[in-house]
């Protein structure tokens, strides 16, 4: 099975950052926006809304690369790519906070867990959900949780329809 990952359609993203909030809430203890903001440490998002150029935004997190540089870079071997699902996961127990992965990731998708917790943190594709929280939350439906070939097909169709 090919990895299902999160794609962002930059023609639809309006940069509202709803996905960021949804991500943080999903990774909180209470799973409730109003309570999550009171947790200590506060939960952290793993997706970032970026400004590309005038009126163009993208929301980007871990790409679960087919050939992940972070896995290569991690000297503690705590990042691995699951052969079956294609998901790239961090085993934080072994993380020594050397931040090699942060340096290696071309998407800046890894960050530090919390000021009080020196561990690498990144998108885990919301293991308890069928569809990741960010995808569900996007008001313009700019985010997709799908396999590369399905995404490619969609993009191709878009171009064909335009013509």
């Amino acid at each position: 099975m090919e990895t299902k990952k999160i794609f962002c359609d930059i023609t639809k993203c309006v940069g509202c950052r709803a996905c960021e909030l949804a991500c943080a809430v999903e990774h909180s203890a209470t799973r409730d926006l109003f309570l999550a903001i009171l947790e200590s440490p506060r939960p952290k998002k793993r997706i970032d809304t970026q400004f590309i150029e005038k009126d163009v935004f993208q929301s980007i997190g871990c790409q679960h690369c087919d050939d992940p540089p972070c896995v290569e870079a991690c000297m503690a071997s705590c990042i691995h790519k699951d052969k079956k699902t294609g998901k790239v996961d961090i085993d934080t127990k072994r993380c020594v906070a050397c931040w090699m992965c942060i340096m290696a990731c071309p998407f800046a998708a890894i960050s530090r867990k919390a000021a009080t917790e020196n561990k690498a943190l990144k998108c885990d594709l919301c293991p308890e959900r069928e569809c990741p929280a960010c995808v569900d939350s996007c008001p313009t439906r700019a985010l997709y949780h799908e396999a590369r070939k399905d995404w490619a097909k969609r993009e191709k169709n878009k171009v064909l329809i335009k013509k």
Partner: protein, 646 residues
């Protein structure tokens, strides 16, 4: 999730039938909006200027200040203040229109209106310092109308006339905090100015403005609206009527009036009784004309004329989706844009009447006082002419329609106990002091799919009366409880606790009293003031064993109402917080610190049973402070003695 909490059987029946026919309603649109923007929910998105919109990251990783430097505290407080001003403006603008009607009556340029309560006209005119001796009704109407309108544009720093009704201690607190209301329009304008970019930035100072603008509503605009409506359309007296979609008739022309101003609805009711028009309706093969109200318009004509209630806010589309409504006439506030789409499925015509509220895709007939009756007749004729277009095969009228008693006021509530006019709060106070009645709770406000779609009010009121708390109601909350039989003595008294039951039985009142529309929340302020005056259960509003709730609040108007009660010393419970949760400082200030400032405070609790217990605990703390007698009968709920937030 929103749909599951809806309990009203009539609504569910229509919803289920029409859903299968692919018709959309407010619940579908609400679901389609999920999940809603977290920044918005937390009140930390600022759009005050064109450097924004700016958002504060509530999780602390992103920006903690807007471009200008505004913090979450400033942004949340500023937005709440503006929303409250909008709420205050809505009630007050409604009051202004009534002032104009009063003047027009004085000048004799109206059609279809008169002074129905000349006694109250004199009382209120005298209160405004007008000499009433040897003056005719229309002279006084003109003078009072002009005097009332001055309250809007008043520029000196003196207090609004009706706010002088408040107990002394409340007035002292307002003076000390510099929040007594001066001019109604002035407070709204000042609030808008203070919340402009680069103006007031200290959340505490902003909230001072919130309180002032809300007091200009409660002891200003809303109170004027209530008093003038009583003068124009008659002071309510307890009256029986029915509520829910079942009041619509298979074999009559059905007209629904929806919105807020009694000016429109009252004259439509009058016109609907015109023998010519009834004859015309019968010629079309009907048995007559039914007029039913929706939202606060419903309450206005219910409490004064016993007109049946079709439903509350969430039933506006559903009433059209019965397929049995010839026209829905609307004026201002709480008129959902969705009704135009609902009407497009049927023969129903929606007619807007206010120049201030135009709806795309619906017919507009301008409604003015000088030809009100002619306009009302024209509107009813449109309804009659539309009846033949009703497709009888598509009609679904649910059978539900519940009996209710409405029309209680601050003046008449305990009149029935045998006391004299305005000197009649003794029995209530005595029964509170001796522990038969625990206290009084206001259960008011909107119905909202975010919460129980109305059901929270019912659960809350049941729990309160079970615990011997006498309930007073207004607005859509009152309609919801009416539909469930809580406003009729026959069914409701049995649900009350022993002590309350005894009192209600002796007097023949239901344990939940319908006091009217949303502007009539001012009646609750007056009733509380009367309780203070009578003595024995507190020397000021903040000492009284009372509490209020608008669990399913939706409109900005509800914020104004909530704030004027908090600023007047009451505990007010909303189901979901105002948009301030993104600022811990503002949240704590309004839910905790406020009690040391005005004596009142906010609480937010979605669960109606827990909300009831919050209110009961609060009431019991007040009882304890006043050293009132222990409750006469054991309670179903054991009091914890403190609020969870303490």
């Amino acid at each position: 999730m929103s749909r599951e909490k809806l309990k009203d059987k009539a609504s569910i029946k229509i919803l289920e039938a029409r859903k299968s026919e692919g018709m959309e309603t407010i619940w579908d649109r609400y679901e389609a909006q999920q999940p809603q923007c977290g920044f918005g929910l937390l009140g930390i998105c600022c759009r005050m200027c064109n450097m924004g919109p700016c958002r504060i990251d509530p999780f602390g990783t992103g920006p903690q200040k807007g471009a200008c430097g505004a913090t979450a505290d400033t942004i949340a407080a500023r937005d709440m203040t503006r929303q409250t001003a909008a709420g205050s403006a809505s009630h007050s603008d409604h009051a202004r229109d009534l002032g104009h009607t009063l003047i027009a009556i004085g000048k004799g340029t109206v059609q279809g209106y008169s002074i129905r309560d000349p006694y109250k006209l004199r009382i209120i005119a005298a209160e405004y310092g007008i000499k009433v001796e040897n003056k005719k009704d229309n002279e006084l109407a003109l003078e009072l109308g002009e005097r009332v309108l001055q309250e809007f544009g008043k520029q000196d720093d003196s207090q609004l006339t009706l706010s002088k009704r408040a107990p002394k201690r409340q007035q002292e607190i307002w003076k000390k905090l510099d929040i007594f209301p001066r001019g109604i329009d002035r407070e709204v304008v000042e609030t808008l100015a203070r919340t402009h970019e680069g103006m007031d930035q200290d959340y505490k100072n902003l909230i001072q403005s919130t309180m002032r603008v809300s007091l200009a509503d409660g002891w200003g605009g809303s109170m004027i609206a209530t008093e003038v409506s009583d003068i124009l359309f008659g002071s309510p007296k307890p009256i029986r009527a029915r509520a829910n979609l079942g009041v619509l008739k298979e074999d009559e022309v059905n007209i629904i009036i929806h919105g807020h101003e009694p000016t429109l609805s009252d004259v439509i009711v009058t016109a609907s009784q015109d023998p010519e028009l009834i004859k015309l309706a019968k010629e079309k093969g009907t048995k007559g004309i039914t007029v039913a109200g929706l939202c606060c318009t419903a309450n206005e004509i219910l409490v004064r004329r016993g007109i049946p209630v079709a439903g509350n806010f969430l039933q506006q589309e559903l009433s059209i989706l019965t397929g049995a409504v010839e026209i829905m006439v609307v004026d201002i506030q709480c008129v959902s844009p969705g009704i135009a789409q609902a009407a497009s499925h049927f023969h129903t015509k929606v007619i807007s009447t206010s120049a201030k509220a135009s709806i795309p895709g619906v017919e507009h007939i301008d409604f003015r006082e000088d030809n009100a009756l002619d306009t009302a007749k024209k509107i009813i004729k449109i309804a009659i002419d539309n009846y033949p277009n009703r497709d009888k095969t598509k009609v679904i009228i649910p059978k539900e329609a519940m009996d209710l008693v409405a029309g209680f006021t601050a003046e008449n509530i305990f009149y029935h106990l045998g006391g004299k006019f305005r000197a009649s709060y003794k029995p209530l106070n005595e029964n509170i002091a001796n522990g038969r009645i625990r206290g009084v709770a206001g259960v008011v406000g909107c119905d909202n799919p975010r919460m129980g779609s109305g059901s929270s009010h019912v659960a809350l009121v049941k729990e309160l009366i079970k615990n011997n708390v006498l309930v007073v109601q207004t607005g859509c909350a009152a309609i919801e409880c009416a539909k469930e039989g809580l406003l009729t003595p026959e069914t409701a008294i049995e649900m009350a606790g022993e002590g309350l039951k005894e009192v209600c039985k002796a007097v023949g009142i239901p344990p939940a009293l319908h006091l009217g529309s949303c502007v009539d929340n001012s009646r609750i302020l007056i009733a509380c003031t009367e309780m203070v005056k009578e003595g024995g259960i507190g020397k000021s509003l903040d000492e009284l064993p009372v509490a209020g709730a608008a669990l399913e609040w939706m409109a900005e108007k509800a914020m104004a109402i909530g704030w004027y009660f908090v600023a007047s010393g009451a505990l007010v419970v909303f189901g979901t917080p105002m948009r301030i949760s993104g600022s811990q400082a503002v949240y704590d200030y309004v839910t905790k610190d406020m009690e040391n400032i005005t004596g009142g405070k906010w609480a937010f609790e979605e669960d109606p049973i827990k909300a009831a217990h919050l209110m009961i605990d609060h009431i019991d703390r007040k009882r304890k402070a006043l050293k009132l007698a222990p409750m006469m009968y054991t309670q179903s709920y054991t009091v914890t003695g403190h609020l969870p937030s303490e």
